[in-house]
Amino acid sequence: MTTTYLKDIETVARNGGAKAPWLEALRRQGAERFAATGFPTTRDEDWRFNTLAPLTQAEFQLAPADLGGVTAADVAPFLYAIPGVRTLVFVNGRYAPALSSPGEVPAGVTVRNLAAALGAQHPALEAHLGRYAEPGKGGFTALNTAFVKDGLFVHVEKNVDAGAPIHAVFLSDGKVGNAASHPRSLIVVERGARVAVLESYVGPAGGTYFTNAVTEAVVGDNAHLEHLKIQRESELASHVGTTHIHQGRDSRVTSFAISLGAAFGRNNLDINLDGENIESQMLGLYMGRGRQELDNHTNLLHAHPNCGTREVYKGILDDRAHGIFNGKIYVTPLAQKTDAKQTNRALLLSDTARIDTKPQLEIFADDVKCTHGATVGNLDQLAGFYLQSRGIGGALGRKILVYAFAAEILEEIPYESVRQGLEALVMARLDERGEG
């Protein structure tokens, strides 16, 4: 039902936020685009595996700004004890300073909520906001753009190392049923700079809300970005999250996408390798149970020579969960010596779990190395026998093997507390499933 959104868009346009003309224009562009196209349907190639109707036909009102009594204790389960971490908490899409601890940042680094940065007219905003995740990229992005108001803003000046990671926690309180939030974040890493950003999308168990998030990251020449997205929404919520990363020459990006929550969880990752000699890594883990539908759509644009990408996504699906992986790699005629590796592996723990997986290699250069492998299936038999030979068989043996399958991704997370926290969550999930 798009009418509810359109009404909300009008309200926001009347009394919302900063009044810079460029921003007004951007929002209007989003609104017009959304009014024209609405949500995608399963007739769209990019959404054909999805069960969209429950989300797109429901009435979601803009989530209330009021904090409604969210306390530090509600946020605590979603934090990680990363040394020096700077934490910004957002409730229902709005910055919650009382729950945040942004700490001190080095000179040349700006870490603020987007609304504050818009108020202060930070020059990077007009230069970058809406330039990568353009409203034309689809209904959800258009809708988010119409509501641009708050989210994370990070700017790192050239050759500056931002130091300890920044963690943005987007919590939906779930106190009002069918509430929508549209967090919008922008990360700008200037030439030669370096930053690590974590984004958590979370909510209380049982919450029936909709998070429609968009993050744009611009990574300048020779700059480094480490990006972790951790989706731990309520298992009854909907989450559509889009991350657009734009990389300059010689830059390095490592992206993690961990999806554990949401009834409907869609993670879009678009990376535009816009320069030579770029290296990127994309790692993903999704774990679905019940009737969760978890979708990862990644889209890599190799537009220049000598770039390398390594992508590994792994899924564990139980009960009647449905996984989707679509990994597009587009190599333009200019992008000679591209080296792109894609691996997608899924474990189905029950007969009724399923996965739709589609590699989508579109290669228009001739001197390239592109490999992709998809496996659906079975536990590691060699490791299984090794466990048995040590007395560990049956359900416990299987649990350890599934855990090891997930841990292979988690192991690459460079922050011990995040790694251990997620490993514990995976283990707890496997414990909850018991014998079966």
């Binding site: 038999q381 060699l382 490791a383 026998f385 090794y386 466990l387 048995q388 030979s389 040590r390 007395g391 560990i392 068989g393 049956g394 416990l396 043996g397 350890i400 855990y403 090891a404 997930a406 841990a407 292979e408 988690l410 192991e411 490993e423």
Partner: protein
């Protein structure tokens, strides 16, 4: 303790073991030697219950039980331990978690109490000394990124913790430098007791300078072609295996 009678096994279409008979009593150390491809690892894996091998004839009794009728984990719980020629890496699972799980599964199967993580670390601390390791190794993922030598040492650590009745060491010496060899052999020797037994599978005589066997058997073409005392190992070192394999072929 272990009684193998006319054991035959194949993998896929390939017949590998062609009638092996061997009796191992408590307190004994048996060495199984033989050229590459003679079936040594196959014998070890068949005893541990590897699903790639199909037993096509013969029988194996372990303490009176029909070993071949047991699941691999049941064999381990009954006290059979195989130190793998190629230990398997398990990413993301710590040595501590893995070893405690193994220890507790075996305790449980024997109707004994499971051990909590704290007590278990105390137990492991003792065992680590045996392989001259510090506690750091316990927080590393099982064999993941271990050097060849570390993997072998980890097998001996597991053996020390699980205290099997019958340990089968498959080429535990291969790829070890002299220091690591001494550590591994020392560990095995310290674990020897009158009520347990060891089968040492090796291609080289070198290890047998450290772990002195009571009996030496030579495997060729999936059969035991010669058995003798520890001096047989020295003879093999001097003469190689050809004279025996030729004998086996013409026999």
């Amino acid at each position: 303790m272990l009684e193998i009678k006319n054991l035959q096994a194949k993998a896929g279409e390939k017949q590998i073991l062609n009638g092996i008979s061997l009796t191992v009593n408590a307190g004994e150390v048996h060495a199984i030697m033989g050229p590459n491809g003679s079936g040594k690892s196959t014998l070890a894996q068949v005893l541990a219950g590897h699903p790639a091998y199909e037993v096509t004839g013969g029988e194996v009794r372990f303490e009176g039980q029909d070993l071949l009728d047991m699941e691999p984990e049941e064999r381990a719980q009954a006290g059979v331990f195989l130190a793998f020629q190629y230990p398997v890496e398990i990413a993301g699972v710590s040595n501590a978690y893995f070893l405690r799980a193994a220890y507790n599964e075996i305790q449980k199967a024997r109707g004994k109490e499971e051990m909590d993580p704290i007590d278990f670390l105390d137990l492991v601390e003792e065992k680590l000394k045996l392989v001259e390791w510090g506690p750091e190794i316990m927080s590393r993922a099982v064999n993941h990124g271990f050097s060849g030598g570390e993997k072998k040492r980890n097998e001996i650590l597991q053996m020390a913790v699980l205290e099997p009745k019958l340990a089968i060491l498959d080429e535990t010496d291969s790829g070890l430098d002299i220091d690591a060899l001494r550590i591994v052999a020392n560990g095995v020797n310290k674990l020897r007791r009158p009520d347990n037994a060891t089968i040492v599978v090796t291609h080289y005589q070198r290890l047998l300078n450290y772990i002195v066997p009571d009996h030496v058997h030579v495997l060729a073409g999936g059969r035991i072609v010669k058995s003798g005392g520890k001096e047989l190992a020295l003879e093999l070192e001097a003469k190689g295996y050809e004279w025996l394999t030729e004998e086996a072929v013409t026999a």
